[in-house]
């Protein structure tokens, strides 16, 4: 028979799951929470505490996430039709966390050796909220420097 008195360990796990579940259920109803989730997906949290709290919640394959990578900035005009760009533009949909693109995962070493600069445009949306972020990723002095671009 399930149930009955719970130990401190069981109570703590029930409470943790219930708290996390409540946050998840509130997500479609709360634009401020949606903005925090989107900020996490873009690697731009309002605080480290927010990054940690939302980072621990399950959020795979949720919301709309796309990113574009190019050697030159991608203007609004070119974003509308990247085929018009006079440079190579890579465009991907991702299941979640498009902020991963700052790591240049498949081209990191080559970009590092070449000292290349990559422009990233991230677009995400969930519910009533959307977020566009642009980053300049530059390989120099043995590091991959990530700066938010205007």
């Amino acid at each position: 028979m399930e149930g009955g008195r719970a130990s401190g360990a069981a109570t703590a796990l029930y409470a943790a799951v219930a708290t996390g579940g409540l946050l998840l259920v509130l997500l479609p109803l709360s634009p401020p929470l949606q903005r925090r989730f989107l900020a996490n997906h873009h690697l731009d949290p309002p605080s480290t505490a927010s990054w940690i709290a939302i980072g621990l919640l399950p959020k795979m394959y949720g919301g709309r996430h796309e990113f574009w990578m190019s050697p030159e900035p991608l203007s609004e005009f070119l974003r509308a039709d990247p085929r018009l760009a006079p440079f190579k533009v890579s465009h991907y949909w991702v299941n979640h966390s498009p902020g991963r693109a700052v790591r240049l995962d498949t081209t990191r070493e080559a970009a590092g050796r070449a000292g290349a600069t990559t422009y990233l445009r991230l677009e995400s949306s969930y519910g009533s909220e959307s977020l566009t972020s642009t980053y300049v990723v530059h390989a120099a002095a043995g590091r991959i420097e990530v700066r938010a671009a205007p």
Partner: protein, 253 residues
């Protein structure tokens, strides 16, 4: 079989499945850490510790020792091992080199269940173990379902791009060649709705009878791996493992 023996067996089942998922992509991660050490990411929005490649590599390696403690150790070693699994997974959830991999989120929550199993009094194993396991698994699927309650997923557009356009593996490459774009979009729409319905159903785990839920969840996990990529196995293996281990605990009744 006595309770101590059952607890030990359940811990081994859960830990083994957890480790299989955790290290399922070890070849990828070894290469990833090599690049991360050579070219660390410098992003100002995260503290230095959450950017340090050695922290990510250490967090990835620690479960080897933690797993051994859970497998062979006494009560104190098991508690320490379970705590180490949870801490390693938590680091994976928030480190810049690892944060996007859902393996670390599922591993974190299942590690908490393993920690409960290591700490729980004997008389609680069968009374709360199965329900707690269903709560953890249901919570993970709830996260997936809630995230998909958007026009992009309900219309199938997200899966159309993610799977039906971008994936080169079977059956997506075959489908692209065989059917028109409008048919592909229709398939993506119903595929997406099926996934949402399945995840919503699995998020009702705390209310469901245990064994049917375990069968349904394990079947769903198998279908998800088949329809996506084998890499998804690393995300879902720990969920299946705690469900099986929790079913083992019912033998104490």
């Amino acid at each position: 079989m006595n309770t101590a023996s059952l607890r030990g067996q359940a811990l081994r089942i859960a830990t083994a499945g957890w480790l299989v998922g955790w290290y399922g992509k070890v070849v990828f991660f070894v290469g990833h850490f090599r690049e991360a050490v050579a070219w660390p990411i410098d992003v100002s929005s995260l503290p230095a510790l959450l950017r340090a490649p050695w922290i990510a590599a250490a967090a990835y390696a620690i479960p080897v020792a933690a797993g051994a403690a859970l497998w062979f150790g006494g009560r104190t070693a098991r508690l320490a091992g379970a705590a180490a699994l949870a801490v390693a997974a938590a680091v994976g959830c928030i480190h810049v080199e690892l944060f996007n991999d859902a393996t670390f989120v599922t591993s974190f929550w299942t590690a908490l269940w393993i920690a409960w199993l290591a700490a729980a009094p004997d008389d609680e194993l069968a009374r709360h173990g199965p329900r707690l396991a269903r709560c953890v698994v249901a919570f993970v699927f709830l996260g997936g379902a809630i995230g998909k309650l958007t026009a992009t997923y309900i219309s199938g557009e997200a899966f159309y791009h993610l799977y039906f356009q971008q994936k080169d593996s079977w059956p997506y490459s075959t489908l692209r060649a065989a059917v028109s774009d409008s048919t592909l979009r229709a398939i993506a729409r119903w595929f997406s709705r099926l996934v949402i319905a399945g995840e919503l159903a699995l998020s009702l785990g705390p209310l469901a009878p245990h064994r049917p839920y375990v069968w349904a969840a394990c079947a769903a996990i198998g279908l998800m791996v088949l329809s996506s990529t084998f890499y998804l196995f690393s995300v879902l293996a720990s969920l299946a493992a705690v469900l099986v281990a929790s079913t083992w605990l019912t033998r104490t009744r």
